[in-house]
């Protein structure tokens, strides 16, 4: 009986481990809280570039429609 119990526990743990592993192997994308961007009239090109980078790399940017 102990052998059966052990096999069941191994099947359950193995299945859980497999799903957790797969979910950790794919690209990890976290949805960040959007930051307020305050750009005044005297904004420089560097500031704009930095702001653009931030938007481009932000979590809301990679919208990947699959419909």
């Amino acid at each position: 009986m102990w052998g059966t119990n052990l096999r069941i526990v191994l099947v359950v743990l193995g299945t859980l481990a497999l799903y957790t592993l797969i979910a950790n192997k794919i690209p990890q994308v976290q949805s960040e809280v959007p930051q307020t961007l305050a750009l005044g009239l005297n904004v420089t090109a560097d500031q704009l570039v930095a702001a653009g980078e931030k938007v481009y790399n932000g979590a809301s940017a990679p919208a990947l429609p699959i419909c």
Partner: protein, 572 residues
């Protein structure tokens, strides 16, 4: 009035918004409590449906096996109810201490429904006690009908409890549009908040999912008892029980995606950006994992059926076809799991030849995915049909014609699914979405009409031998365990999807999450949390099963014992 509101606002502003929890943090604590509570809730809602249907089949068909089966399911519920209530209390205390401001908002909107909710627990619990402890007393004649009525009533209470809880969580996702961040929560009409955009789709989706879940857990229970059985007779009983559990789980699973489509459609209609976040934004990879899990479910469910055909005389004639069914399932799973656009760096994009892979671009769209899943459903239905007909030979004069009509229906349904799948590539997205309705309609019509013909054709059918229950290899039982674990994990994953699409909002665009846990975590972290919850749940369920076995004997009665009892009755 204005003064009172200002006072209320001042009190709310001085109330601390968030608490802290050691080691796993506030979010982790609420996550575990909510998810394990939900898993137990699904179990105690799904199993009574199962039990009352089994009891009714026993009454109508005058088959005592079903009555014993129903009682054995119900016995599992007694301790599971306590566990559900305990986890519910844990969740409530955690919410009120770790998220007090948000909790105050929710109670201000839903307060009266919470009183009804907790009041229904009394009705539900006492109906369960009556249902279980009155089983032997109300076993015959009219009293049996009353007992069956108690089972129905138990389901009614459970369903109302679920509908109330669903209104709270769906309000968090899709609050009515006329409510703004400045709306006083106490002024919101209760029914207006309850009947929000996603309430009914979630109700239907959860109702079906609970049946699936209940069936899967009962299947796992039966498989454990099968593996631990000490006699062939006991093994046969639990083999049959496992089959019934798997049959109900897979049957309900087949219609579950349709309820999912409806829910998805409502989410898109409510707020397109939320829909895009769900399907194409940071959660797009979640659906690849979901596809993998559903592929496991379909493959494990079919595998169990195919192995089960080994114990059915006459099933040999269908066995050569299983390899083709397997091929369709594997191909369908591959298509369904294909992502549309890969998240890749510049080097990977260059190697791939652009943001869309030549193959992924074609197979990653919903046209291909809908086609794949509908063909997988048709294939699984065909497996069931073969299983059902395995040990019979129809004798009605129109049997051959009927079989050809059934085959034709499968063919037509598959052609409709393929036609709209291909046509979907040449039309706009908005038209393409509508095509999924035709695909689903064709599959459902095929299932309904083919089953009807099969029932009519099976009348007076020649038997090729009785099913040899219990003659199943052990590996088939492990497949049932994989099914139970996968269903539970999938439930956790979809819970994360539903909750995660709110992103940094407690209540979408009304109450913002300003805690340090406001960012929605990536799938890797979520998977660890889900696995931990599943492990806690399954460990507790194992304990519940063990406790059930400790308190009372199995409802399985060996025939020798039955004979002894009957003998002693005759003697007296």
């Amino acid at each position: 009035m204005t003064g009172a509101l200002l006072l209320l606002q001042a009190v709310a502003d001085t109330t601390r918004a968030y608490g802290e929890f050691p080691v796993i943090g506030a979010r982790g604590a609420v996550w575990v409590a909510a998810e394990v509570h939900l898993m137990f809730a699904a179990f105690v809602l799904g199993v009574p449906m199962f039990a009352v249907v089994a009891e009714a089949i026993g009454v109508v068909g005058k088959d005592q096996r079903y009555d014993r089966l129903a009682k054995e399911f119900t016995r599992l519920l007694l301790v599971a109810y306590s566990a559900t209530a305990i986890w519910g209390a844990v969740l409530t205390f955690l919410l009120s201490t770790l998220y007090p401001r948000f909790w105050a908002y929710l109670t201000a909107v839903f307060g009266p429904s919470m009183w009804v909710y907790v009041g229904l627990f009394f009705f539900e619990s006492f109906t369960l006690y009556l249902y279980y402890y009155g089983w032997e007393r109300w076993k015959q004649g009219r009293s049996k009908v009353v007992h069956l009525g108690l089972g129905v009533l138990l389901n009614v209470w459970g369903t109302i409890v679920m509908l109330i809880a669903n209104s709270w969580l769906t309000y968090m996702m899709t609050p009515p549009r006329d409510i703004t961040p400045t709306t006083d929560p106490a002024s919101i009409k209760l029914w207006h908040a309850i009947a929000n955009a996603t309430w009914m789709p979630i109700n239907i989706h959860r109702l079906i999912a609970n049946v699936v879940f209940g069936g899967a857990i009962v299947g796992a229970y039966a498989s454990y008892r099968f593996l631990a059985a000490k006699s062939d007779e006991e093994r046969a009983h639990y083999d049959w029980m496992g089959y019934v559990g798997n049959f109900i789980a897979i049957s309900a699973l087949i219609v579950l995606p349709f309820a999912g489509y409806w829910l998805g459609r409502e989410i898109y209609q409510y707020d397109q950006s939320m829909g895009i976040t769900m399907m194409g934004g940071f959660m797009s990879w979640l659906w690849v994992i979901q596809a993998f899990l559903i592929a496991v479910l379909f493959l494990a469910g079919n595998y169990y059926l195919w192995i089960g055909m080994g114990r059915i005389p006459g099933a040999e004639r269908f066995r050569p076809y299983t390899k083709y069914l397997l091929a369709v399932l594997v191909l369908g799973a591959i298509v369904w799991g294909t992502p549309h656009t890969m998240i890749a760096d510049a080097r990977e994009l260059a190697a791939m030849g652009g943001s869309h892979h030549p193959l992924l671009g074609a197979l990653g769209v919903m046209s291909a995915k809908n086609t794949a899943v509908n063909l997988m459903i048709l294939t699984t239905f065909l497996s069931f049909l073969m299983y059902r007909r395995a040990n019979t030979r129809p004798v009605v004069p129109w049997a051959r014609t009927g079989t050809w009509i059934q085959a034709g229906m499968f063919g037509v349904a598959a052609l409709i699914v393929l036609f709209f799948g291909v046509k979907g590539y040449f039309v706009e997205a908005i038209v393409r979405i509508g095509y999924s309705v035709y695909q689903v309609g064709a599959v459902l019509a095929c299932i309904v009409f083919v089953t009807t013909i099969d029932i009519l054709m099976g009348r007076g059918a020649q038997s090729l031998g009785a099913i040899q229950w219990g003659k199943m290899p052990a590996r088939s039982q492990y497949a049932l365990f994989v099914l139970a674990v996968t269903f539970t994990w999938l439930m956790g994953l979809m819970g994360f999807a539903r909750s995660g699409i709110r992103q940094h909002w407690h209540v979408w665009q009304l109450v913002q999450d300003t805690s340090k846990y406001a960012a929605t975590p990536a799938l890797g972290y979520a998977a660890k949390m889900i696995s931990a919850c599943v492990l806690i749940f399954l460990s507790l369920v194992a304990f519940v099963f063990w406790l059930g076995g400790l308190a009372e004997k199995s409802t399985f009665v060996p025939s020798s014992e039955k004979r002894d009892k009957e003998g002693s009755r005759v003697g007296h």
